[in-house]
Symmetry: C2
Subunit: 344 residues, 2 copies
DNA sequence: ATCAGCTGAGAAAGCGTTTTCTTGGATCGC
DNA sequence: GCGATCCAAGAAAACGCTTTCTCAGCTGAT
């Protein structure tokens, strides 16, 4: 007859009674403490097996002061970029026996601090992924979130490594590629206003404009998903640009789809570029020219940084900077000869 | 001077001391128990605010016997279908104040039971998403996982609602659509061997073949991602089929990309269909004909079912069956006149 | 004026572990 | 052979919270 503790679940006490030993001994056996008589250990193990005893992680967490869980806060779980980061993080953490708790802020920046705080308290560490909150707010809460790893943001708080992708350089590479193809009128389909990565792209474009005064760059408002790109067709055409830098691959795909519906040829009439190199980018027609970011790897690295923080391995935590790699595919091509130019 | 408890973090005891009351009173105030003198309550709240006290969820969980967290086990976090389910689940659960812990089994079915058990013990309930484990194993562990909701699998265990998509019907609808377009030679690019949804598709195709003996259906081995489709081009062409049912949208996209590289026109030369209607399906060129499954909604419903289980609202938990909706787009078209047929 | 009845707040007992502290018994050295 | 040393295992404290139990002090009725 299986004896149950009051709660109905089998606890350490049940095993102790069944094996005729104390709670402490059961705990020792379960944790591989070898200062226990082999014969008794065997008896405990047998009792545990018979009762199908599984230690309660909550009690364990309370006693040990750790949960073996980390949290991640993302602005939008629908975004493939964040999905990829989550995947990399989850896989890497799992290898070290940690689980991941997710919190989706749905792009409402005012929720982020609360979500982050709640998640942090439940976990041993936190990854804040591309938070939309203001710099001052980030500075304010960062210390209370330690151990903390930032993605695509940074803070002056000590011991908060930040992994940032150099979107500014990436966007310049793309623009350079388009100019080499003869495009002189470019347009940038911007991302979400509060996105720091968008800010970095804009800064990159400023540098680019400074270095290439002959090139005309139009800024268009946008977002981060398909529909943004799809709906931007009119604005893009109105801009008169022949080379379009979309905020990311999703926007680029939406745009290409819209252009296709209008009967326009990519890259014959217009060249389109994305950003991120999500898995889909390779399989669009035409295949998308983009700047590849090793996103999954970034998630893994986030775990590694967080791990050293959690383990308090005093090594300085440097953070890292990732350089996007230009991935030229079929969605970009030579600019048409401008209408104003007379051939021959 | 902020007094700290031994652990370094501020606990209920610190607030109690600062406010000059007992632990119990602080707890009462923090939980909105109104049997406490307003003046004292105010003092406690002030102390809590000043110390920035935040209750420790682990202690709370242990005392209350609940974690306000649910777990989900998926076979592959890289699969957009599971991402969408996760998203729906996470959003719906968040609205009720629950968080989601994720566990990715990376398609290794032997890990699932362990992952599920661990996740379940940390959480108040579990969603098992398209588990790859065998039926007998599922039957075996299901009772120990309660409260449990199954997606795309079912079990005889009581009180385990299962949400299943009628892939069998969906695949028949697609096949019917292709036949209406005049295709008489079809091929099915199958999914992962252990996938129950693949099994359901196969069953559906059997029914279809029985009802349409004149149609030839070739079965091809496959998988669930882009590359599967991309690599299947040769096999598809060798089959001689003019209408291809891909396991899902990803496979279809990979296949279309491969066909495009071979210079073949979709749907001019070959019609291709997907399954799921992931967001990308609308934006492929040509836009993908597929069977739409309300996946995110399914994730939400999973939460609702789990919620009634957790709350022990005795209502029977029926589970639901979802009918895919045929979404005809541009990747399917009339079959070419068969070579063997003489016109006129 | 006295006592039952009530109320508000402190004391303490859980929740399920781990870990320190303690103790009885065995071991070892002289 | 006896005290110092050590070891294995039990008792108990700790982790941080909630909640029951308890009791002092008060209200109000007789």
């Amino acid at each position: 007859m299986v004896r149950k503790s009051a709660s109905g679940r089998i606890g350490i006490a049940d095993v102790a009674i069944k094996a005729g030993v104390s709670h402490a001994t059961v705990s020792r056996v379960m944790n591989g403490n070898y200062t226990v008589d082999p014969e008794i250990a065997a008896r405990v193990r047998a009792a545990a097996a018979e009762l199908k005893y599984q230690p309660n992680p909550v009690g364990r967490s309370l006693a040990l002061g750790k949960t073996d869980t980390i949290g991640i806060v993302v602005p939008d779980l629908a975004n493939p970029t964040f999905q990829a980061i989550l995947r990399g993080l989850s896989r890497a953490a799992a290898q070290d026996g940690y689980r991941v708790l997710i919190a989706d802020s749905f792009e409402v920046s005012s929720e982020e601090a609360i979500l982050a705080g709640e998640a942090r308290r439940r976990c041993d560490g936190l990854v804040l992924c591309a938070p939309r909150m203001s710099d001052v707010e980030l500075e304010e809460i960062a210390p209370s979130l330690h151990p903390l790893v930032l993605i695509n943001r940074s803070t002056s708080a000590p011991d908060v490594p930040s992994l940032v992708v150099d979107y500014g350089q990436g966007v310049q590479d793309i623009a350079g590629h388009l100019v080499e193809l003869g495009h002189t009128r470019l347009a940038f389909l911007a991302g979400p206003p509060r996105s720091a990565s968008n800010e970095m792209r804009l800064k990159g474009l400023e540098s680019f404009k400074a270095a290439h005064p002959e090139v005309d760059v139009t800024m268009l408002e946008g977002g981060s998903d398909f529909d943004t790109g799809h709906e931007a067709v009119d604005a893009v055409l109105a801009s008169g640009a022949s080379g379009i830098l979309a905020f990311n691959d999703l926007v680029a795909m939406g745009l290409m789809s819209g252009l296709h519906e209008r009967g326009l040829d990519v890259p014959g009439d217009i060249s389109v570029t994305g950003f991120d190199d999500i898995p889909f980018a390779k399989y669009t027609t035409p295949a998308l020219t983009t700047a590849a970011v090793p996103i999954t790897e970034l998630g893994e690295e986030a775990w590694h940084q967080l791990r050293t923080l959690i383990r308090k391995e005093g090594n300085e935590t440097p953070g890292s900077r990732y350089q996007p790699r230009l991935e030229v595919r079929a969605s970009t091509g030579p600019a048409k000869a401008p209408r104003s130019t007379v051939h021959g």
